[in-house]
Subunit: 326 residues, 2 copies
């Protein structure tokens, strides 16, 4: 979202005639309309929720950024990007504030794990339909990780990465969950893995308009994901004008396109979000069999121009997940 | 060493006229002479110690392979390669047998760590000169890791890799050791990291005569090493006819060339080993200041042809480390 100070914060990369009436509030109203249109079961924000450098009151910015999710009464989850901590709150401070907000399922870090890098590493289990035989078991596992901000190692330039402690936690968690049942998973974090650069137009769906801004090193998380075997798709933010998905070794690596108006983008290329629709299979006796399909192919672009913040513009950005019970 | 059944086990890749008199015993005698010539303080074997597929009695093979190290009374350490378990002993069984041998400093796995992949992950602290102020502190930290054998993930072909659990252990250990003092480290394991492929003749020293047989995926251990910051050099085996060292982001990535005669090699290109010489700096008052230099540039080739196993041929293979106190 790159949220800063609401109405006073200007949009970036819109057409010249749109600047005068465009602000963070366009982002706000567009989330609201997005939620109204999609009626999702869970909203996931993949980091750079606020643009720390442009706010003097990060708590107010966080409250405003997530406001529409909070007031929708729909569960929501968030991870950190590389810009969230660039004001007066540390990464821990930002994540602690998020965790304390209403209706969020976000967690600071996993319970019972002594050592883990970053803040906002956690997992959620999505149970099946109430009253069905899948009511008390997970039909979909969601993993959220903190992909860091910037390298703190002098010899490694650029962005952060997912560290061994986090990968170890992920692997142990995935193993524990898979012992219970072979439930598929999805992973959400901010900075794309180096493997996102494996695709060209011949093997991805969507749009690639900029390079892959991964860490300058490979920290092995893609290998860890492949070995764990349960994660079917990864959703990241970070590169605003890419919205493609490509499949590598059985894992879909997906962007969603940028969502916030106070974030770089491309005038004329709508802000957008990815909608994930998960459907359950019914057995012949009418009982739920298990997960039938995860459809992550749907990116919803803004279908109106941001004339002013009161207009009925639909803007979708960070991945939305919609668990549709059928 | 690729040790099998001693005298009955033929050599590979020697000149035709050498076959008749060449066996595993050439390997044995050459270690003996190597130890006599170098008088090392520690001998490190970097895996494929035995060639499991060619022995029916892996215990006898292990005893024979490490025999010269054991009878030298010099401390020695070993890690597993990808061939050690190819007989009737599992990787755990092989490592347990090694750990029980005389004069070895090898360990099955680190004490107090509940979950770790592989067998033979451990670290050693090399203390300074007796009677000096460095007597009770480590002047050099050695890390040993099990780089696995083969991928067990159907979608990933090829060799194994160092897993998140091992990297987490390494990172925690390195951090603990560095809190005590900024002591440099060396790491030993069998399968080279994908980053070994970063070099060409313009930026390595030594010989490259074959490709880099890493895992087909990058599991991030190089990144973990760079982030930890203490490991100055990595020594691997696996690719017998490479003996080069190259530096990447401050870490020397080194091969040593093949050592064993029952292992592929190249006729006319001597079996060999790397000698690491570590020297301490003296303060003006005569006390030891700390580590002055780690010289890993020395690869000792066999300087005689293996006419028969009784000849005085010096064969050096796996990295030898010599902590020279001055």
């Amino acid at each position: 979202m790159h949220y800063a100070e609401g109405r006073k914060t200007a949009c970036e990369d819109v057409f010249p005639e749109q600047f005068a009436h465009c602000s963070d509030l366009n982002t706000t109203f567009f989330i609201e309309r997005m939620i109204q249109a999609e009626k999702p079961d869970l909203v996931v924000f993949t980091g750079d929720n606020i643009y720390g450098a442009d706010t003097t009151d990060p708590v107010a910015s966080l409250d405003a950024a997530f406001g529409p999710a909070v007031s929708s009464n729909i569960p929501w989850a968030a991870v950190l990007g590389n810009h969230d901590q660039e004001s007066t709150l540390s990464r821990e401070g930002v994540m602690k504030h998020i965790v304390g907000m209403e209706h969020t399922l976000s967690q600071l870090n996993p319970f019972g794990v002594d050592v883990i890098d970053g803040f906002g590493n956690y997992n959620l289990e999505v149970h099946g339909i109430e009253g069905s035989d899948s009511e008390n078991k997970s039909v979909l596992n969601l993993y959220f990780l903190d992909s860091g901000d910037y390298s703190t190692v002098p010899s490694i330039p650029g962005y952060g990465w997912i560290k061994p402690s986090q990968q170890f936690w992920f692997q142990q968690t995935s193993m524990k969950l898979q012992k219970k049942s072979k439930t598929p998973g999805l992973a959400y974090f901010h900075i794309p893995l180096p493997e996102y650069a494996s695709f060209d137009s011949s093997n991805f769906t969507g749009v690639k308009q900029e390079g892959i801004s991964s860490a300058s090193v490979n920290s092995g998380f893609f290998t860890t994901l492949v070995e764990a075997g349960d994660v079917k798709a990864v959703f990241t933010g970070h590169d605003h004008i890419n919205d493609f998905c490509g499949e590598l070794t059985g894992i879909h690596l997906c962007y969603a396109g940028g969502f916030g108006y106070h974030a770089y983008g491309k005038a004329g290329w709508s802000r957008r979000a990815r909608v994930v629709v998960v459907s359950l299979e019914k057995k012949s006796n009418g009982l739920v069999k298990g997960l039938q399909n995860i459809d992550s192919s749907h990116v919803r672009p803004d279908n109106r121009l941001p004339k002013n913040f009161m207009s009925l513009v639909l803007v979708y950005q960070k991945p939305f997940i919609w668990v549709r019970h059928c």
